[in-house]
């Protein structure tokens, strides 16, 4: 082997080096000229040989409300982890718009860039008031020094008021988030996502543990958000999914089993088999 071989090998590549790629810039005019805002293609994630995601390919259109269902262990939460940068896939690609490669970005970058996520368990900042929770979530320069000297301006205050209105917590604005009811925490968390002005909202089990009235309100809320944002809802509650869904994707063993309207999906023999057993 000649001494220059490794160098030649390194130079003979089918793509440019990462450091030569243009800097990722999130901008309000995200390139969505082909329709979808989120592309997941052939994504595979395995944990100790178990494939949580197996060649998953999924497209989310701009402004759509998509429900993702599937039995336990189908890879729903893992899929969200991959999109938000918490888990790196073994293979596959994840793009935000046409140009932004999410696999090269950190969780923080992705969050700032316009993909908001609500966790399965409601997580809000319990020792802050509802208002402060939203203040912290508001889209702004989130560097250390700017944050030290940050003062809320009028537009930001109005934005917070607007969100409080949307999530019906105006009356609780000065209450500590830790003292809210379970359903209110879920809404506050959705409000925190909204405050980040995201393009895509990933919502993991929003109605778990909610009363029927709260569930109904949440459904209204999510439906009203679609259009302005793309909303991806992962949920177990079929009744809830039926009430909001336009398009449903069924995941099974890490890949897409069926996709379509709720009726189409529910009458699909493969889905029935997965859900009802053999």
């Amino acid at each position: 082997m000649r001494p220059l071989d490794p160098l030649r090998k390194a130079l003979r590549r089918d793509r440019v080096f990462d450091f030569m790629m243009p800097q990722v810039v999130f901008s309000p005019d995200l390139d969505i000229s082909h329709g979808p805002i989120l592309y997941l293609e052939d994504v595979t994630v395995s944990f100790d040989g178990f494939k949580a995601l197996n060649d998953l390919t999924l497209y989310i259109d701009d402004g759509e409300l998509r429900c993702i269902i599937g039995p336990n262990g189908a890879g729903k939460t893992t899929m969200m982890d991959v999109i938000t940068g918490k888990t790196r896939p073994d293979s596959g690609s994840v793009f935000f718009g046409q140009k932004i490669d999410l696999l090269r970005l950190s969780e923080t970058d992705i969050a700032q860039g316009g993909i908001g996520r609500k966790f399965q368990r409601p997580t809000v900042f319990e020792s802050h008031t509802v208002f402060e929770n939203l203040e912290l979530s508001l889209a702004a320069d989130k560097g250390v020094w700017p944050t030290l000297f940050a003062v809320l301006n009028k537009a930001q205050r109005e934005r917070i008021d607007e969100i409080l209105e949307t999530i019906a917590l105006t009356g609780q604005r000065h209450q500590l988030a830790g003292t809210l009811s379970h359903g209110q925490k879920q809404w506050l968390e959705i409000g925190m996502l909204l405050a980040q002005s995201p393009r895509v909202l990933l919502v993991d089990e929003p109605v778990a543990g909610m009363t029927p009235q709260e569930t109904e309100r949440t459904a209204e809320l999510l439906v009203s958000l679609a259009g302005k944002h793309s909303v991806v809802v992962v949920e177990h509650d079929m009744e809830f999914v039926r009430s909001i869904a336009r398009k449903v994707t069924v995941l099974h063993e890490g890949s897409v089993l069926a996709e379509g309207t709720m009726d189409e999906v529910q009458n699909d023999p493969r889905v029935i088999e997965v859900y009802l057993g053999d």
Partner: protein
């Protein structure tokens, strides 16, 4: 008006600053203006003792900032205190000049004793006060930066971080014990003569150092309070309560932690630099893990996450220590241990929490 708003938003802090102001006026007067024969005279020994407590209070404040508000339990904060102290000690050592036992104008005594011919490179510049003060801030800050950068980036938290910080201070202690490190080995540095040309033994200098401690503590308190009341402070508490949520909201958690950790280390270093000229000695014992653990106890006893709680805790526990170690020396460690256990079980918010609870339950 500003004072009124401050009082309403931070009553404990207002009391603390008022107390410090009273100290700053009364102590110098009682020491310098009241004749020694008068029963109201305050001895210089007492002045220095209070000054020493104030340095500890500043150290406790630094720890409370990261532990109480960000949940970073550092069991090695004594290391930053000691490093600040060593930087000051090196300056004071150079000020001795040829008045040492060996009368060598260029080298401190311990170097002459080790047969060294010239000053090591890292001692250069320490004859200048401004340079030494710069190092008081830079050395602890830099160490905290490097240490924090590695540990926060690797997402080391909780008890693991506590153990690593403990290891850090222990490693530094062992290193500083070695003679060839060039910091005086196990004897450390002592026998200081003067600071900025003023005799360290003079009452006036002692009072000036005391005042410097009071002012530094007060200013640091105000800065810490400003940080905590800012949006940054709210982000820090958010990190403590729900770290991954904070990350998904778009804050770079590691940078926030690192910034706060470095700031806290710098405060600790300044505390050490004020401490050394008052007690007149710095040795590797200051790096002892036990010191850092005691520091945690001060903050826990006072009440963490309130800033003034830490100050109060440091003052009370150290006063108790001075009293007990003189009256019942063998009992002190038991008392300290019992205090920690009792506070943890019965007063999770410390002594300040007790007072707060009483106030809240009153009609």
């Amino acid at each position: 008006m500003i004072l009124g708003r401050f009082y309403r938003s931070d009553r404990g802090g207002a009391f603390l600053l008022a107390g410090l102001f009273v100290l700053a006026v009364v102590v110098p007067v009682l020491n310098l203006a009241v004749p020694e024969s008068s029963p109201f005279h305050l001895s210089t020994y007492t002045v220095t003792l209070i000054g020493k407590y104030l340095c500890y209070a500043l150290l406790a404040l630094a720890l409370d900032l990261i532990w109480g508000y960000c949940g970073i339990l550092s069991l090695g904060h004594g290391a930053f205190f000691a490093l600040g102290g060593y930087a000051m000690g090196m300056y004071l050592m150079r000020q001795i000049g040829d008045r040492g036992v060996y009368g060598n104008p260029d080298l401190p005594d311990f170097m002459v004793f080790l047969n060294w011919q010239e000053l090591p490179w890292y001692w250069l510049g320490f004859d200048m006060f401004w340079f030494a003060m710069l190092m008081v801030v830079l050395v602890p800050g830099l160490l905290a930066f490097v240490f924090g950068w590695f540990s926060f980036r690797s997402r080391v938290t909780g008890v693991y971080l506590a153990i690593i910080t403990q290891a850090l201070t222990f490693a530094l202690m062992l290193a500083f014990f070695r003679n060839e490190m060039g910091f005086g080995g196990n004897n450390g540095m002592t026998d200081f003569k003067d600071i900025l040309g003023f005799d360290l033994q003079a009452d006036g200098t002692r009072v000036a150092l005391f005042l410097a401690s009071v002012i530094t503590l007060a200013v640091s308190y105000v800065i810490c309070r400003f940080i905590i009341n800012s949006k940054l402070g709210r982000v820090i508490v958010a990190i403590r309560d729900a770290e991954s949520r904070t990350r998904f909201v778009g804050y770079q958690v590691e940078r926030y932690k690192l910034w706060l950790f470095v700031f806290s280390a710098v405060l600790a270093g300044i505390a050490g630099a004020l401490y050394v000229p008052q007690v007149g000695i710095i040795n590797p014992g200051e790096f002892a893990p036990l010191n850092s653990i005691e520091l945690v106890i001060w903050v826990a006893v006072g009440g963490r996450g309130m800033l003034y709680g830490a100050v109060l805790g440091a003052l009370l526990v150290n006063y108790a220590k001075t009293y007990f170690t003189a009256a019942f020396p063998e009992l002190w460690l038991f008392a300290l241990g019992a205090l920690f256990v009792l506070v943890t079980i019965f007063l999770p918010k410390g002594l300040v929490g007790l007072w707060k609870r009483k106030r809240d339950t009153e009609p």
